[in-house]
Subunit: 346 residues, 2 copies
Amino acid sequence: MSDQTITAAYYRGDKKFSVELRTAPEPGADEVTIRIAYCGICGTDMHVYHGNMDARVGFDRVIGHEMSGTVEAIGANVGTVRPGQKVVVRPLDPCGECPACKAGHEHICHKLKFLGLDTDGAMQELWTVPAHTLHVLPDDLRMDHAALIEPVAVACHDVRLSGLQPGEDVVVIGGGPIGVLVAMVARDAGGNVLISEVNPNRLAIAEALGFDTVNPVESDLQAVVEARTGGKGADVVFEVSGTQPGVDAMTAAAATRARIVMVAIHAQKPNIDLFQFFWRELKLIGARVYEPEDYEKAIALIAEGGIDADTVITDVSPLAEIQTAFEALDRSPIAMKSLIKVGENA
Amino acid sequence: MSDQTITAAYYRGDKKFSVELRTAPEPGADEVTIRIAYCGICGTDMHVYHGNMDARVGFDRVIGHEMSGTVEAIGANVGTVRPGQKVVVRPLDPCGECPACKAGHEHICHKLKFLGLDTDGAMQELWTVPAHTLHVLPDDLRMDHAALIEPVAVACHDVRLSGLQPGEDVVVIGGGPIGVLVAMVARDAGGNVLISEVNPNRLAIAEALGFDTVNPVESDLQAVVEARTGGKGADVVFEVSGTQPGVDAMTAAAATRARIVMVAIHAQKPNIDLFQFFWRELKLIGARVYEPEDYEKAIALIAEGGIDADTVITDVSPLAEIQTAFEALDRSPIAMKSLIKVGENA
């Protein structure tokens, strides 16, 4: 496969991608080259598109990490996969030496390299990555569905860290793509899930997926939760909104000894009702990306149909149209997950 | 013992106590009457003294709950204790029917009665309480030391909920009476404890007790913690200060996946660095009062000398001088724990 010419989409700054030909890198001894089938557009990719991450990614970067593909070639030391296998990449490359890595928390390494941001990513026909990042897929898994594994693994991590038990009452604050996936995983784990969301389009999607919903602008969320739970409150709350009202709601909706999972990225420092943490012995649990077991859980969930993948995937565009795909997603009030079909034969 | 006349100290409002004679109540069928030896002055009692809790306690209330004593008489149904036994009271009377009680969290019952605030307390020679609140003490435990069991049980609850493991790095933010007790219990559990405190008098006491200390006004707490821990940060942080700088420090000093225990009562809603909770997968754990096992642990710790009781007890006054004892504690820059000697023969 030496000197193969492939198509790749480069982020060039100022909301622009250019689709160009490049020479595919051959895998190093501990690397694997993957022929990409699909690559989803992540919220982080939209941040790149908007120029918010220019200092980190630069203007010569192939982004993309929510991918599916097939092993094309393996390095000399690689014994874990073989060409032809369907795979996904867990796009985390930890340093192995920082305090977090030494404590066994490599997924939140202090010097973490995130593939597709800090290195080139999957919006290209062939992608070469460290072999340790691969998870092998069942042969019969649909490759478009498999492109959801990465965001579903985020949701699996959130739900796992919550310690959710079957029959517990769950509130998901924020019904965007991640919130809906968290809700699906929590429902699969046996939770009684309520989604709180202010956007009518997102509410309609959540209801179409079979979820109970509340619009906290129109109804008193705390009163709704108390009515659903006999005055108890929610056992588990996922804060996915990233807003001050969401932070206010997370303590108001929580039962005594509830676990609140912080999924959202709060760039500001919101006001938080710490008295309620004391008074009701609440627990706040920060959750970021995923660990290998979350990937395995996500693969199993998608393989078993625990995620309604066809409803979550709202658009598919070829790599040549990546520019219009980003523009459309940026404008769309109803898109959940947009995929880029990278490979010709995907 | 019917119609016994005893001495009791009543809170009468406006920073005033009156020491009066009253008729001691006989125990009901499920109650026990205790001859009080000592009763410590809690921070909550100081709030009563300052008039902050008048709506709750009124002006005809005997307060006090950090007590030690001896069983004087038992009700008809009581089989758990016998007259003459040394005891302490866990001053919590839950409803048994609310969602918290039903979930097994009676200590933070939604309708909790706190003995000595919502009912008369231990600043009187004989105190009658529900039998279920009693813990029996070893015969040879000093009764002045035993008056520390209640606040030490608070610290035991905080440390237990933190999941502290031997060898872990601990920061206690706030070196007042509760902070120092938390530090002592954490040290006994094998933690490497640093106390952060701004008051020079309290710093001196903490140092006299053998703790490493830092004054965060003079030194950069985060830098000090990183230097002590090889850049890792603290595995467990106790926020006992109740201040915005304390809340800022608790996230800054925390290691990846650290547990932060919220001991302080934050009446305001401080700003909190939720991004760090996400980024480093921090955990915030609210902790309030104690459960039975925390009392048993506190009794064992004091019996074994794990708490330097003689240093913590800085004043002892007779019940007749309760007024001057509260006034002195209110002015004192160095007092840790003031006890009232209630019984003549204590």
